[in-house]
Symmetry: C2
Subunit: 441 residues, 2 copies
Amino acid sequence: MKAIKKRMKFSPPLVIAGSFASLIFLGTLLLKTPFATTHAISWTDALFVATSATTVTGLSVFDPGTTLTTFGEILLLILIQFGGIGLMTFAVAVLMLFGKKVGFQNRIYLQESFNQQSVGGMIKLVKLIFIFVFSIEAVATLLLALHWMPRFGLGHGLYLALFHVVSAFNNAGFSLFPDNLMQFAHDPIVNLVLSGLFILGGLGFTVVMDLHYKKSFREWSLHTKIMIVSTIVVNVISILTVFLLEYANPATLGAMSLPEKLMASYFQGVTPRTAGFNTINYGDMHNSTLLFTMLLMFIGAGSASTASGIKLTTFIIVLLTTIAFLKGRTEPEVFGRSIKIETVIRSLAITTISLLLVIFFIFLLTVSEKLSFLPLAFEVVSAFGTVGLSMGVTNQISDLGEVFLSIVMFVGRIGPLTLFFLLMKVKKVNYRYPYEQVHTG
Amino acid sequence: MKAIKKRMKFSPPLVIAGSFASLIFLGTLLLKTPFATTHAISWTDALFVATSATTVTGLSVFDPGTTLTTFGEILLLILIQFGGIGLMTFAVAVLMLFGKKVGFQNRIYLQESFNQQSVGGMIKLVKLIFIFVFSIEAVATLLLALHWMPRFGLGHGLYLALFHVVSAFNNAGFSLFPDNLMQFAHDPIVNLVLSGLFILGGLGFTVVMDLHYKKSFREWSLHTKIMIVSTIVVNVISILTVFLLEYANPATLGAMSLPEKLMASYFQGVTPRTAGFNTINYGDMHNSTLLFTMLLMFIGAGSASTASGIKLTTFIIVLLTTIAFLKGRTEPEVFGRSIKIETVIRSLAITTISLLLVIFFIFLLTVSEKLSFLPLAFEVVSAFGTVGLSMGVTNQISDLGEVFLSIVMFVGRIGPLTLFFLLMKVKKVNYRYPYEQVHTG
Ligand SMILES: [K+]
Ligand SMILES: [K+]
């Protein structure tokens, strides 16, 4: 395995980062052409939106529905779909279509992208992903199209349904409506179809496969167990928190009936960990709700999914390790299983790098922008988690700030560890120094 | 050792928390009497300032110089001195003065307070601390008194010198001047004497003892090496950062000459990790400087010192572990020594609990207060690090907010781990579940 890795021309982190970067580069060029937009946009705006689509973030410096032509919208959709499933998966699919054998190198790249432990099942996994993605998207598009056709007409209703289904399933959060989904705040079909899609997309393919093939909790892998239980717990807490904090806010839930309040709380409770759609205006929310939302955006959803952030499992492992320490242990345990110290240290490293990165870019934006602190911090965390929620300041960001946020979206999507493995010359060492005590805390 | 701990009536965390709580309780009662203040203050104000003094924070809801009587000021000073050195140290000193033997139980309490590994050297350590504290304070008071007597008169000059020396050495940051130390922004003697005191106090007694007895770097303990090197590095970075960010800000450094700019940057660079004095107004600083200052306040200074926060060594170990992970290891190494995984996990737990605690209390204050986000977040981090810097909103906090901040100062001072060991019934277990992999990041 080690020997094989050495023989590869490009390291997996380089291929992952390189494929996203190429897609962003291509997207920027195409978005800048006069075919893509109704009026000329700047290079930084093109870069920003191409990055936002490829990294499935959903932040935008202009209103996609009015600024983009149909060509521009379809381009956006393609970037979202390629970025969401991952370029490598597509490359393998194309190779398979042409009947070519998938080389060992490509399998290792795929393995790295999907965080898998063995190379063997990769091709089968990719096939499954494709069948899964396109059948879900087809069914959901049909469902939403039937709902929207009476209002928007046959062709446009189908088109809108397709766009929003792809955007939701890939957790992009882009919408062709000028107020995102705010006009559908009281529409149960739109709420349930789109949230169902982005929750499923945010679990990660390995979890979905586990759910599909193994029907009982006991059979699931530890990873799936943690993902399902913590997704439910975190979502319930989030929905309740939004409901309680915004209950009396006249600009958000205040004027709604109780069922409408509940539906909007549900949607705003589940959207921050990666989807980024909104049915109420984040600029009107209380600072307490916004802070809580930032925490959710930083955590994110599942590994090997369309989500970014540190990932839900990473957060849970950090929490479990803290509890383990209070019990006098170093390795956390859950559902009758122990988690290896290597995984704990990996989680610590991901969390530390992510935190420092987010703080550093908030810092840069407080220098480059004249906006107040919270909207900027919110924007950076949203970009890092490739969430796409905003307090409404995205179009007020300076060119330099747009470049900063594009970097944050890119790093958030490829993962801060991928970035570091790319930049650092890692030299494995086999010696160990003698131990000495250091006082902490 | 384990058997002895079991036989003790009160656990060390309970004694540490209990002694600080009693001192705060007593301080609140005395501050509320008409002898302590020139006009009546509320119970929450008395609680807040008593907590702030005992935890050596320095936040105040009123101007101490005009609101407190001389009795009130001396009371404040006593709370600072007791809180700074730690009540247990005092108790042992009193026992020694009366010629009583110090029992094994008390030694264990002391050991816990000072984070020592062995019980043996504790009594010697306490004696040394006392000699060290009072001789330093005496010399510094004399120095500052000579400087201030021409301006404030013999008696008052000496009194002011004593107050500010005790406040500085214990890193309390309380001042009897209405603008803290802003009028001394250009006074090198005041700057150097007070910052010298709070840097020394913030290193921690064990480090100072190491410096005193072992003259070469090679002889120092790993803890001392890390403390000294990282204190120098962090201070240099901080000073430069403040200098560059505020250089052109007309409300802070803008109007100053270069030497004045440097002196003010030096002071504001070294004060945030625990001291909390200020020679320029934090309310006028750029958001970038304030964010950077919050990071410093969260980190804090040395273990077993007058500082709070997660502590500098904890932060360094988290960073070193992250670097170690990128090199494919679990245990960090520095200065030719490895650090045990138990210390790493302890650092992870301290950082996680501290972060969640700070976020939770910022959240509570965004609910209880109508102030904007950054000043509230700054206030909470300042309270947690028992720093005492403020963007100037302390006197606008509601009664409920004052209670929240008092809790944060208390928990910050005793340490979040002490709190958890106090609240949790820890049951040590000796089995281990089988390992299973979880995907992270
Ligand atoms: K998104
Ligand atoms: K202080």
